[in-house]
């Protein structure tokens, strides 16, 4: 009897621990959402199917959590066994009852006033392992906080906030390490990814996204430009346990809009890098936008999928792929074991390039560079898409992306010199579409609009689209009942039919949706949750 009690106690405490095996097997417990994109393959696809195209009209608001902050609420929540963890910007962690939205505890962090992020004191979320939550801060610290009570366990300074470094994305846990990369691409930083021991916060490896002297790729930076090369990392990567590779997108080279101080391709800016998760050693890379001058960060979430793809003889075989709708307007398919370029097709209007050479390098369009008088480039500065999480549904076989269509910016260049901690941009973009908050929309469709676009990865062709008048900063969630959830700047949160894009339900949340929706269930009831404005909303079917 005693033994039985002991065993049951052990079982309960084991269940409470989020092991890495649980994260890898996230599909076995779809009631939970244990990593930024749902799984380490990052498809933002859930096996929950209680909410269906038929009953989605019966969704009802269950609770709202209002942040006491006027910064944008960009975090994707985690849910583990009925507890929801999220970040109130800039860097407060809250633990809520996922069914009622009531607070268990709040951990408050006061970032240094030296933090100088380009785009708001924001945070995109957390990672969890064991009973420990991990958060990067806007002043470039990595914190470990006890998930039981919100107490700080360790605090590791990652980089200098006063030089422009910041951590904004949700960390990624791989085995016994927590991986983060630094933002700051508008401040002439030298970007890097680093892995820290989950127990102690000690750095285990560091990979500079701008190679130093003697390292391969260093020759793609003229003079000393590598020292201020940018190539920031500000969106969470992915992980393939069979290959033991972790994949991360990197940001623009610095300065953004004037490439003269940095002659060369500027590796590994605007690239995807595949790193050995144990050592941080580069296995392969693919650069989407060599020598970028349009701020076309490749910080999209790398979506991993195993699909049938024709080999050299034309025979279809299941292949380890990476699906990537890039800020530069192209939808890519790469082989994620080797980095081989397999296909690239525009998913919006694109005028900066005209196809690819045989190695998959984009062929630049003549004259399409920033000038003193300005040059109109499609897609514009905010991109064809951006950091907004895409989704991939293995049921429909479709890739879903939040797109800015018919969207251009006129890029102006100006001379620029580097001063530590100051903006290092070399120009500015001008567009009909405001890049900041929502405003009254006075545009025609051909001046830029937002859409959810469904792309067939095998052909790169668009299968359907759902158009919005204004643009969208919202991520997309797909479910096993063929639903998509997304939103936009207009503040609507809606459900679409994943098979054809039909609008099935909508709610007016009254604030910009600049976060990725996610879903979870508690006691058998499915919830769909999204942040809008300065609040977090959770919906479920009427009882």
């Amino acid at each position: 009897m005693k033994r039985a009690i002991l065993l049951s106690l052990c079982a309960s405490s084991l269940f409470a621990q989020v092991t890495f095996e649980r994260i890898l097997g996230a599909d076995k417990e779809p009631q939970n959402w244990m990593t930024y994109s749902g799984t380490t393959f990052s498809g933002r696809y859930s096996l929950l199917s209680q909410i269906t195209p038929k009953n989605v009209k019966d969704l009802e608001l269950q609770w709202i959590y209002q942040a006491s902050s006027l910064e944008k609420f960009e975090a994707t929540s985690l849910v583990v066994d009925g507890i929801l963890y999220t970040v109130q910007p800039p860097n407060d962690i809250v633990a809520l009852d996922a069914a009622t939205g009531r607070t268990f505890w709040t951990y408050t962090y006061k970032p240094s006033p030296d933090a100088r992020p380009c785009c708001g004191h924001i945070n995109r979320g957390l990672a969890i392992l064991g009973n420990v939550l991990f958060m990067g801060t806007i002043d470039a610290h990595l914190l470990a906080v006890d998930a039981k009570n919100g107490h700080l366990l360790w605090d590791t300074p990652v980089a200098k906030a006063e030089s422009g470094y910041a951590l904004t994305h949700a960390p990624l846990v791989v085995k016994d390490k927590v991986i983060v990369g630094t933002a700051g691409g508008e401040f002439g930083i030298r970007g890097f990814l680093a892995a820290y021991d989950v127990r102690t916060g000690k750095e285990i490896w560091r990979f500079y996204t701008v190679p130093g002297p003697g390292e391969p790729g260093h020759e793609t930076w003229g003079g000393d430009s590598w020292k201020t090369g940018g190539a920031s990392v500000w969106v969470t990567g992915s992980y393939d346990p069979e290959l033991n590779l972790t994949y991360w997108g990197t940001g623009n080279p610095g300065p953004d809009w004037n490439g003269d101080p940095r002659p060369g391709d500027n590796l590994y800016s605007d690239s995807v890098v595949a790193l050995d998760a144990d050592t941080g050693k580069l296995k392969w890379y693919y650069q989407f936008s060599p020598h970028d001058e349009f701020d076309h960060d490749s910080v999209q979430v790398p979506v991993l999928a195993d699909l049938e793809w024709p080999d050299r003889t034309g025979q279809k075989k299941v292949r380890k792929l990476m699906l990537w709708a890039n800020r530069n307007g192209i939808f890519y398919v790469l082989d994620r074991a080797t980095g081989q370029f397999l296909s690239g097709k525009p998913f919006v209007e694109v005028n900066w390039m005209n196809g690819f050479d045989e190695k998959g390098r984009p062929i630049r369009a003549a004259g399409k560079i920033p000038t003193e008088d300005g040059t109109a480039i499609y897609p514009g500065s905010e991109g064809a898409t951006n950091w907004y999480s895409p989704a991939y549904s293995p049921r429909t076989g479709l890739f879903y992306v939040s797109a800015w269509a018919a969207y251009a910016s006129t890029f102006f260049r100006i001379p620029v010199t580097y001063t530590e901690g100051r903006v290092y941009a070399g120009g500015w973009p001008k567009s009909y579409v405001p890049d900041g908050r929502a405003a009254e929309n006075l545009r025609e469709e051909n001046e830029g609009f937002g859409a959810v676009r469904a792309i067939d990865p095998l052909t790169g062709q668009r299968r359907w689209e759902f158009k919005m008048n204004d643009v969208t900063d919202a991520g997309i969630l797909a479910t096993a009942s063929d639903l998509l959830f997304s939103g936009g700047r207009e503040g609507y949160f809606y459900a679409l039919d994943a098979r054809n894009g039909a609008l099935l339900w909508k709610a007016t949340l009254g604030g910009v949706i600049a976060s990725g929706p996610m879903t979870y269930s508690v006691d058998g009831r499915q919830y769909v949750s999204v942040a809008a404005g300065h609040s977090l909303f959770s919906f479920a079917l009427k009882k």
Binding site: G82, T100, R102, F104, W105, D146, K148, N149, H151
Partner: protein, 253 residues
């Protein structure tokens, strides 16, 4: 009487000179919180950690009147480690009220033993980690003690070990719920509102209840902590107190 917190005891025995300052027990209570949060990290909970200064005995180096104390708290003391404090009107009053209350009821003399032995007793024979947590070790069920040496004075610590029911801080009271089907859950309260309860149960799980699903709910008057009177010798208690006094959150990185 036994359940009155320390500040109330102090307030009851305030000498007339203290009362003439016009401070209320509420001021003293507010001041204690501010002192622990802002001052104890340097001055120590007993107010004696800075050489030559013994706040608990009214021994100040640079001030004697309330006005002088107020100036020092506001402006700091140039050339020393005492920084200017950013306190508003009532906070200043409360801090001075607490300083005056400390010296109005000087600390009982508490014998401090050997901290290393105390740690061994705390983690071994005393089984304190079964309920308490220090740094990343122990249980979540009882109050975390990682920085208890900043928050509580030695006399308070000793009394908590010998008479756990004498003073239970509001945030440390146990909470108990009984569901409609008779399941009883006791633990640590996180939040209580009109319709729901959030708590950690005795198995360290975060639990949320809707009140209409509960037959009963409420605070547990008695502390779940046993008295160590008779279980530990007075030397052993002195050792444990000496150990607790050293816990100042310094193990966190």
């Amino acid at each position: 009487m036994r359940s009155l917190p320390v500040w109330a005891l102090v307030a009851l025995f305030l000498p007339p000179s203290f009362a003439q300052h016009g401070y209320t027990p509420g001021d003293v209570q507010d001041g204690e919180g501010l002192f622990i949060g802002n001052c104890a990290i340097c001055h120590g909970p007993e107010g004696d950690a800075v050489p030559g200064v013994e706040l608990a005995r009214g021994k100040f180096k640079h001030a004697s009147s309330d006005e002088e104390l107020s100036q020092i708290i506001k402006n700091g003391i140039p050339g020393t480690a005492m920084p200017p404090g950013n306190f508003r009107g009532h906070e200043l009053t409360a801090l001075i009220a607490y300083l005056r209350s400390m010296s109005a009821a000087p600390p009982e003399t508490v014998v401090l033993g050997n901290a290393a032995r105390g740690k061994a007793i705390f983690e071994g024979k005393g089984q304190c980690l079964n309920c308490h947590r220090v740094s990343a070790n122990g249980s979540y069920v009882g109050p975390e003690l990682s920085d208890i040496g900043v928050a509580r004075r030695a006399a308070q610590l000793e009394r908590s070990i010998l008479e756990p029911d004498a003073e239970i801080l509001p945030e440390n009271r146990s909470f108990r719920v009984v569901t409609q089907n008779g399941m009883e859950v006791t633990g640590r309260l996180f939040n209580l509102d009109t319709f729901t309860v959030q708590m950690m149960d005795s198995r360290e799980q975060l639990r949320s209840f809707v009140k209409k699903d509960l037959k009963e709910f409420g605070f547990v008057k008695k502390s779940p902590m046993p008295s160590y009177r008779g279980k530990l010798s007075s030397e052993e208690v002195a050792d444990v107190v000496a150990y607790l006094v050293t816990l100042r959150g310094g193990n966190r990185q």
